[in-house]
């Protein structure tokens, strides 16, 4: 079962799968489970229950419910105050998506986690080919890329290279 959870967390690191819902759900489920699932008495099997053991069980049961209610209140308060549409912890996104595999080069990973796949650019055309690109980064900034040393004439090649350019030249690769 641990193996399954680990496998699922790894699958959750791909884009399009929201690991925060999964992990958050699991944590809340665990906490609520501590309170709602009844503990079976071990007395039945001839093992004595000490006073400390009973106090501890009650503590565990109530703490599960209390912690989950407090967590929900805190996260709701954070959400209410978060009215600029930005994550309070931008790097926390890597809990849900990590570029993979780490050993692959910057250009041939299996998947990416940025917003570079849907950007646009204007190519400035010269009689001998595309000399420069005016690329709109995911955050709206505009980057000028000089292509004069490559003498590119192929429009499709530029289209294919756009995400690479984005990752290379843009300061911010996320839309928010």
């Amino acid at each position: 079962m641990l193996f399954d959870i680990v496998v699922n967390c790894l699958v959750g690191l791909t884009p399009f799968v929201d690991n925060f819902t999964h992990l958050g759900g699991m944590v809340y489920g665990f906490l609520c489970g501590l309170s709602t699932i009844e503990r079976l008495s071990t007395d039945f099997f001839g093992m004595a229950t000490t006073l400390w053991g009973r106090v501890r069980n009650v503590l565990i049961r109530f703490s599960g419910l209390i912690i989950s209610v407090v967590l929900i209140l805190i996260t709701t308060a954070v959400l209410v105050n978060n009215d600029d549409g930005k994550s309070p912890c931008p790097n926390c996104r890597y809990l849900s998506c990590v570029p993979f595999p780490p050993w692959a080069g910057e250009d041939d990973k299996w998947w990416y986690c940025d917003d570079c796949s849907m950007i646009t650019a204007d190519a400035i055309l010269d009689s001998s080919g595309y000399y420069s690109l005016s690329m709109t980064c995911p955050d709206g900034a505009i980057e000028q890329i000089d292509l004069s040393d490559q003498l590119v004439t192929d429009r499709q090649w530029i289209q294919k290279q756009l995400p690479t350019f984005c990752r290379k030249y843009c300061d911010k690769v996320f839309a928010t």
Binding site: V17, D18, G25, Y28, T36
Partner: protein, 152 residues
């Protein structure tokens, strides 16, 4: 995924942080647990819910299963709304993972019974068999769940 567009999902009540926080549409924290992004997503999630939900409900009762589904689903949606504000999310998998988390809690608090030899001879064995059932289904479930809770 054979399903509606992102605009349709937003109109139906998908999680989308700007609408929740700035427009005050707080029902969007609750509605994603009954929405799905498409037929495949729906059937995979429902299959997982069928196996895990059945085991948990038979074991712990309707009320416990409802609590263990709804609270984690809402809590997971809130977390997702905080940390992934730009994504639109639907899916019941927060609640399904809540049920899985409850199975883990079950195993933890009844740890001493798990390896007891007398258990199968007694009444308590019924519950333990359910626990085993829910555990034995998990590998199957994870294949289902891994494709669930897509951001669109």
């Amino acid at each position: 995924m054979i399903g509606p567009s992102a605009e349709t999902l937003i109109r139906m009540g998908a999680k989308y942080t700007p609408l929740i926080v700035n427009q005050g549409e707080w029902y969007r924290l609750f509605s994603p647990m009954v929405l799905h992004a498409g037929l495949i997503h729906y059937f995979l999630n429902m299959a997982a819910l069928w196996f895990i939900g059945k085991a948990v409900e038979q074991c712990h009762g309707f009320a416990a299963a409802a609590i263990l589904f709804i609270i984690p689903a809402v809590g997971g949606t809130i977390l997702s709304a905080i940390f992934l504000p730009e994504y639109i999310t639907v899916g019941a998998s927060g609640g399904i993972f809540g049920l899985i988390g409850a199975c883990i809690a079950d195993i933890c608090i009844n740890w001493s019974l798990l390896f007891s030899k007398q258990v199968n001879a007694s009444d308590e064995g019924v519950r333990l068999r359910h626990m085993k059932v829910s555990r034995s289904y998990l590998p199957v479930d994870y294949i289902f769940i891994s494709t669930s809770s897509h951001s669109v």
